[in-house]
């Protein structure tokens, strides 16, 4: 029984990382006032780009992850152009980009014949003296580099949003774009920048799934994690650290499903696979029941800013 828990918890950082990075990326772009539903699609782009890079260029997995980030950022320019420049309804634009990416990645993966070619992936790094601590050592100090990097990345983004001048301006654009515009901030530029920067983290989340966790490309392999990340942002009230906590929670839930089967406990397999989605909805209901009124969302979330259009 002890082994069961240690094996399970040692896997949690790996299963939680995609949720954490995707939610953090979404927080950056939504703090600028853009309702960003593109995560599911951009994670797929990151996943296929990362795996394609490690298959074709034969490079280090870290290079593959960088390619994944770049690819998702590039693709997010499409979304940014639609919602920031052309003022398309942000829900329609987000959904279109997701389905565009689903179609495109399915096509690329099949035509380039990247399906079912396993890759080596990223090695785990044991931080030696600490990794020998019983129980905690394996869970916290025997992970891959990206998991370790998550902590400084969260510190950096949290500092950027809360303490830096640029982050303050970004939040101002998200809270009240008209006032920010009057104060001399270029609203469109801030929003495009936030979308592109945030999307690189969403791409990292997707790349992590294909390059590090699964080590394989399967069409549609993100499997709804992007939508769960969108829900996580609401749960975290658009703040980085609660998003990390939520990601760990979902990492625990996702990680326990295969463990239970492996432990020989007989449960209906497909009903077990529902748990992450059911849990997400349950968490959303709990959030709704707890916070009556203001939920912490940026003031101008989902509203395009048109200087010439007075409201």
């Amino acid at each position: 029984m002890n082994d069961f828990f240690i094996n399970w918890l040692a896997n949690v950082p790996g299963t939680a990382a995609p949720y954490a990075f995707a939610a953090l990326g979404l927080i950056i772009s939504e703090r600028s006032g853009v309702l960003n539903l593109t995560a599911e699609g951009l994670m797929l782009v990151g996943a296929v780009a990362g795996l394609g890079a490690s298959l074709t260029m034969g490079g280090h997995p870290l290079i593959a992850l960088l390619v994944a980030m770049l690819a998702a950022s590039l693709m997010s320019l499409l979304f940014a152009g639609l919602v920031v420049i052309l003022r398309v309804n942000q829900v329609i634009a987000g959904l279109s980009v997701v389905f565009f990416c689903q179609g495109l990645t399915g096509l690329i993966g099949t035509l380039a014949n990247w399906q079912n070619h396993p890759i080596a992936g990223l090695k785990k790094i044991a931080i030696w003296p600490l990794s020998e601590i019983p129980v905690i050592g394996r869970i916290l100090f025997d992970q891959d580099l990206v998991v370790y990097l998550a902590i400084p990345i969260f510190f950096a983004v949290s500092f950027f949003l809360r303490r830096s001048m640029l982050g303050l301006k970004l939040r101002a654009v998200g809270e009240n774009p008209a006032a920010a515009d009057a104060a001399g901030l270029n609203v469109s530029l801030y929003r495009i920048g936030a979308i592109v920067a945030g999307s690189s983290l969403v791409g990292l989340a997707g790349g992590y799934i294909s390059v590090v966790s699964v080590k394989l490309w399967v069409t549609g392999m993100v499997g709804g994690r992007g939508w769960i990340a969108v829900a996580l942002v609401v749960f975290a009230r658009w703040a980085p650290w609660p998003a990390l906590a939520g990601a760990l929670l979902f990492g625990c839930i996702e990680g326990v499903v295969p463990r239970i089967a492996a432990a020989g406990i007989s449960v209906p397999q497909y009903l077990m696979l529902m748990t992450p989605y059911v849990a997400t909805i349950a968490v959303m209901m709990w959030v709704g029941a707890r916070n009556r009124g203001y939920q912490g969302e940026p003031g101008a979330l989902g509203q395009p800013h048109v200087r010439e259009e007075r409201r």
């Binding site: 052309l86 329609i92 389905f99 565009f100 179609g103 069409t219 609401v234 209906p268 989605y277 959303m284």
Partner: protein, 369 residues
């Protein structure tokens, strides 16, 4: 403002032009109105651009434009036309479902989940043999409607009771529904003869059959639903209320529009339409539940509703056009090994192109110095 500046300049002794700064910039004007012809022109232009991009992508994927034209033309022989008409039925129904819900601002993106429960409801009636053979299809339709209705009302209940955003909840409920379907198809409902993950084939009297001229009775169900929805939206008092609610829900409530009742009714009908889509899909095509019969219908529904501007009558037209795309996509899949996700890609390109064109309809771009 402008006039004041003009008079001031006229009064000043030497009217020197202000120094020119830079090369100028783009400004956006809101258009007050645009003639329908120009609107149609912009729409047609954007559609053409979207289709051109799709053709280029298909060309890169290995289908020369000439072959594409041949395959598209091939859709209009009797055999393919029949499958277009069969395909159109569920597409029209999901388009109606999405369009109705979007009309009152409820983002029902759970069309696939509602189709799944529609299919499950209909199949349950078939498996347990409920009702006499002569009315079996009717009972199946009712069970399918109930399935779709329950699944959408769950999302609505979570929205009003716990303020769970329906975009997220309905999308996640698609995954839950599809896993529940797999649970049945790999478990209790698995066809013992084939051992594939699919249910036992329906009896002949449980299938929607052709009524002549290659027209399937599934299409009649869809057209009837479109007529009812068209009446409701355009002619009935409820349709007027729906426009009021989408324009300004608070105002509607204040002046006494039964917002809650109308919302519940419209969302319920949206679920019924999606459930029926699941029913006509399984009962007219495979005649059994399969693990992916609902694939790709969420975005198809969104696309149809978006292009038809939630108008049930135009939904029928767009539904037919999309059915042509679906059948062509299947042909390309079989003969050119192009994955079916291509259809989804083209759908997304078309929506993006048309959504972008609204910008030109609503704004005038000018270059000012």
């Amino acid at each position: 403002m402008h006039d004041v500046a003009m008079t001031m300049r006229e009064n000043s002794p030497s009217p020197k032009p202000p120094p020119r700064r830079g090369v100028g910039r783009f400004t956006l004007d809101m258009r007050q109105a645009l003639s329908p012809w120009k609107q149609a022109g912009i729409l047609a232009g954007s559609l053409a651009i979207g289709l051109f991009i799709s053709v280029v992508i298909l060309d890169i994927a290995g289908i020369a434009p000439f072959d594409l034209v041949r395959e598209l033309a091939g859709v209009f022989n009797a055999d393919s036309l029949r499958s277009v008409l069969v395909r159109a039925a569920p597409l029209i129904l999901v388009g109606l479902s999405a369009g109705l819900a979007f009309r009152i601002g409820f983002w029902n993106l759970g069309l696939e989940g509602q189709m799944v429960f529609g299919g499950i409801g209909a199949t349950a009636v078939s498996i347990y043999g409920i009702g006499p053979e002569s009315t079996r299809l009717v009972v199946m339709g009712i069970a399918a409607s109930a399935g779709g209705l329950l699944w959408v009302m769950l999302a609505y209940w979570m929205k009003v009771r716990f303020r769970v955003n329906e975009i997220i909840s309905t999308l996640l409920m698609n995954y839950i529904a599809s896993y529940f379907l797999l649970h049945l198809l790999y478990g209790a409902w698995q066809d013992s003869k084939t051992a594939f993950p699919q249910s036992t084939q329906y009896q002949p009297f449980e299938r929607l059959s052709d009524i002549g001229y290659g027209i399937n009775s599934a299409l009649l169900v869809a057209l009837a639903a479109a007529v009812v929805a068209g009446w409701g939206v355009h002619l009935s008092r409820a349709g007027f209320y729906m426009r009021f609610i989408s324009a300004n829900p608070n105002m509607a409530k204040v002046v006494g529009v039964p917002v809650r009742t109308i919302s519940i009714a419209v969302i319920a009908l949206s679920g019924v339409a999606a459930g029926l889509a699941g029913f006509v899909n399984v009962a007219s095509q495979e005649g059994r539940l399969t693990q992916s019969f609902f694939d790709g219908y969420v975005f198809s529904g969104v696309l149809i509703a978006f292009l038809s501007r939630n108008d049930p009558i135009i939904v029928v037209i767009v539904g037919f056009l999309l059915a042509v795309l679906f059948v062509t996509g299947q042909t390309l899949q079989v003969f050119y090994q192009i994955p079916f996700t291509m259809v989804q890609l083209i759908e997304a390109i078309i929506v993006i192109a048309v959504a972008s064109s609204e910008f030109l309809i609503r704004h005038r771009i000018r270059w000012t110095r």
